[in-house]
Amino acid sequence: MALKKKGERLMNITKNREENKLTVTVEGKIDSVTAPEFEEFIKENIDGVTELTLDLSSLDYISSAGLRVLLLTQKRMNAQGTMKVTNVNETVSEIFEVTGFSDILTIG
């Protein structure tokens, strides 16, 4: 994986919705700068979703600002369905481990 170069877009989000199922793919990083955008995206797309999958295969890292959004999303999904996080890389996995998020999230 190459290092991101200056000026490159920091985060890219794509979605795939099939009825009640929503798959969100996040590329780049979720940090203080990008977390608000990520939060906004989830808010706009989560209504009526009962099965949410977050594909993090191309996520470089996530900071506490991003963890905050993940926690809010998990709380929301606990109320209306299920949520799964997939394809977590080593750096992100370690962050989940250290912060106890690996116990909160369903990682598959």
């Binding site: 940090d31 890292y61 926690l71 962050i95």
Partner: protein, 712 residues
């Protein structure tokens, strides 16, 4: 004895066990015993004298009766005649002695003139005296019977008519038969008829001196008994009254002479204690007692009064001494602070200098110490290092230490060579050193450009050096004489080369000579061992580790000498250039900083993972500064980056001018909670703590400085 102490007793129990009540009981009890013994003796004496008086009276009656009878008639003929008849009657006819038929044999005697006269005289004597009966009878030795001749008794039940006989033993009558004319003859018996009676009497003799009969008198002892009862009653009542009077008197006396004075002393003691608790200084509770009993109680009161005065004086002294001590203690703690402030004690000491890091500590054994360390930049490229130990301890050593410290720095700042510096100081101190104080000094000057160290050792411990990649080892350097010893001492200096990553450890003998409770010294061996166990750590950790090891080793043993340590790490020049970036503290400026740092990290061939973690740390720490540091009004944030060797690491310092805030003091979040209980936020610092290898915070010059180190 009471089961509980006098303190636990109520009012009535106290009264019961009081001295007065004990005195009363003792007096009553003693008098009772005395009274009973006296009563027994008195009763015995009474009974004896009363009955002997009765007996003597009765004997007199019989004696007088015998004399009168002998003058009027010849009583012997009646006696002989009755006895003759008695002996002539066969035993079977006699019967029990009260048979009417037998007694009728004697009817003729009752009309005889001598019988009538004898009976009349006996009757007169009986009526005119206290005896219950007086009669004329004879003892018949052959039959062992007492045969009656004449008995004036008028009671039909108890009268003994002439010829009547009853059993009498020789033993009973022996007193009469063998009477020698002295003492009163009598015998006492208990009879069914009369109860206790005493019989006394006198013989009536024939002309030839043989006994013809006895005039006998019976005295009942009933009156002795009733007299005794009366005596007992009178004696008892008067005794009871007397005993109580004596007891009351004794109790009153005791109360006045003993109990009241003791109570007064106790009250005074109580009042004294209360005053002492309330902090009253001078009291006169005991002195004003005025007890004049002239005995031990008065003595006790006087001693207590003396004690009161002496204690007041003693307290006065004590208060003065305590105040003096307090003053000295305050001055000493002030001196401790002044001394501590004399030594450079703010770390990091040279945050702007990347060529070296230094840390030191001084723990005085007493309030103030004689050890000192010092480090100072002589010029841009030269660092002066001092480790010294003044002879002695406490205030004198501290005063000498202050002088030495100022001299060393002042003279070193002149730029002279270390040997010249020490020589100058030695000459100055020796010029006026009547107290023969001296100081051991290790002084070195490090050239920060190339790591050349020029040093002089004036009687101090060997320095300890760690070369990059090697172990801490003693440097057996050239020693000169102590400073202050001889006026013209010469000092030779030597040179050491510190390569980047080298560490120099300096100390005083308080380290190696620290001893535990068994008087075992900490020693150079243990010092080297602790150093080598921490050989990759920075100067602060090295110094703290040695301090901790000494504390652990010494345990509860008191610290005898000042313990002073200093550690310098040399990084070298150029190799650790610092780069920094300053931005306005805003979220949107974080990527600019991240890009800048990433650019530096690339030069250091940083692993991708470490870089990601550093990026996260930047996001967290700068994010916090942007959100909270300036509380709405804007400000700048600076990030410095330094590369480190030995071990290879990168150091990032985040600086802001906002509200002082130490994020390291924040509690870690509870990461074991489930999603619904978890708080949003608070994870940032925790994440940085977990992914970085070291974090330090300081607030200096109005700036928050948070330094994180990541090993590469």
């Amino acid at each position: 004895m009471p089961e509980k102490s006098v303190r636990e007793m109520n009012k009535y129990e106290r009264l019961r066990y009081s001295l007065a009540s004990r005195t009363f009981h003792t007096a009553v009890g003693g008098a009772m015993i005395l009274g009973i013994v006296a009563l027994i003796i008195g009763l015995g004496w009474y009974a004896y004298s009363y009955s002997s008086q009765l007996i003597k009276g009765a004997f007199g009656v019989t004696k007088n009766a015998q004399q009168i009878i002998s003058k009027v008639v010849d009583p012997t003929s009646l006696g002989h005649d009755v006895m003759d008849l008695y002996r002539s009657v066969p035993e079977e006819t006699r019967g029990d002695g009260d048979d009417a038929g037998y007694l009728s044999l004697y009817d003729s005697f009752t009309t005889r003139e001598d019988y009538v006269q004898i009976l009349s005289i006996l009757k007169d004597f009986r009526d005119s005296s206290t005896v219950s009966d007086v009669y004329y009878a004879m003892y018949d030795e052959e039959t062992g019977m007492l045969v009656y001749f004449a008995d004036p008794d008028e009671d039909e039940d108890t009268v003994c008519p002439t010829g009547f006989f009853e059993t009498a033993t020789k033993k009973e009558l022996n007193t009469f038969l063998n009477w020698n004319g002295k003492k009163t003859p009598y015998y006492i018996e208990k009879t069914d008829r009369y109860g206790w009676i005493c019989t006394t009497g006198i013989s009536v003799n024939n002309a030839d001196g043989s006994i013809a009969g006895f005039i006998l008198a019976d005295v009942t002892l009933k009156e002795v008994g009733s007299g005794m009862l009366k005596f007992l009653l009178q004696y008892g009542i008067s005794m009871f009254v007397l005993i109580n009077l004596v007891a009351i008197f004794m109790t009153r006396h005791m109360k006045k002479k003993l109990v009241q004075p003791i109570n007064k002393i106790a009250e005074a003691a109580e009042a004294y204690l209360k005053d002492k608790k309330d902090g009253v200084g001078v009291t006169d509770h005991f002195s004003k007692l005025n007890i004049n009993t002239g005995d031990e109680v008065e003595n006790l009161a006087l001693i207590m009064a003396d004690m009161e005065t002496d204690l007041a004086d003693y307290e006065d002294d004590l208060t003065r001494v305590a105040a003096e001590k307090e003053r000295i203690s305050i001055e000493l703690s002030l001196a401790t602070r002044i001394q501590a402030d004399m030594l450079p004690n703010i770390f990091p000491a040279f945050p702007d200098r990347s060529e070296f890091d230094v840390f030191a500590s001084m723990k005085p054994a007493k309030e103030v110490g004689g050890d000192f360390y010092d480090f100072f930049l002589i010029d841009e490229d030269h660092l002066g290092l001092v480790m010294a130990d003044v002879s002695g301890k406490g205030v004198p050593a501290a005063l000498f230490m202050m002088v030495s410290k100022i001299l060393v720095q002042n003279i070193a700042m002149s730029g002279k060579s270390p040997a010249e510096v020490i020589k100058t100081i030695n000459d100055q101190i020796c010029a006026n050193n009547r107290e023969e104080m001296f100081v051991t000094v290790w002084f070195g000057v490090l050239d920060l450009r190339d790591g050349t160290l020029r040093a002089v050792n004036a009687g101090h411990e060997y320095p300890i050096l760690k070369k990059p990649g090697g172990d801490f080892e003693l440097v057996k350097d050239i020693h000169g004489f102590v400073v202050g010893g001889f006026a013209s001492s010469k000092y030779r200096e030597y040179e050491l080369k510190l390569d980047p990553g080298a560490k120099l450890f300096l100390y005083t003998d308080g380290v190696t000579e620290a001893s535990n409770v068994d008087s075992v010294l900490f020693g150079t061996g243990r010092t080297l061992e602790v150093l080598n166990n921490n050989k990759d750590a920075g100067p602060e950790t090295v110094v703290q580790s040695v301090n901790n090891a000494i504390s652990e080793f010494c345990g509860s043993a008191p610290q005898f000498d000042d313990i002073t340590l200093m550690c310098l790490e040399y990084f070298g020049k150029g190799n650790t250039e610092m780069k920094e970036i300053t931005v306005e503290a805003k979220i949107e400026n974080i990527p600019e900083v991240t890009d800048f740092v990433n650019g530096e990290l690339e030069k250091l061939e940083c692993s991708l993972k470490a870089q990601m973690q550093i990026d996260v740390a930047i996001d967290e720490l700068l994010g916090n500064i942007a959100r909270y540091a300036y509380g709405g009004s804007g400000g700048n944030a600076t990030v410095q980056i330094r590369a480190k060797e030995e071990p290879k690491a990168v150091e990032l310092t985040f600086i802001d001018g906002g509200t002082p805030y130490d994020p390291l003091k924040k509690d870690d979040p509870d990461i074991s909670l489930g999603a619904d209980e978890r708080e949003v936020g608070g994870l940032g610092i925790f994440l940085v703590k977990k992914t970085m290898d070291d974090m330090k915070y300081e607030y200096k010059d109005g700036q928050n400085r948070l330094t994180v180190t990541k090993l590469l």
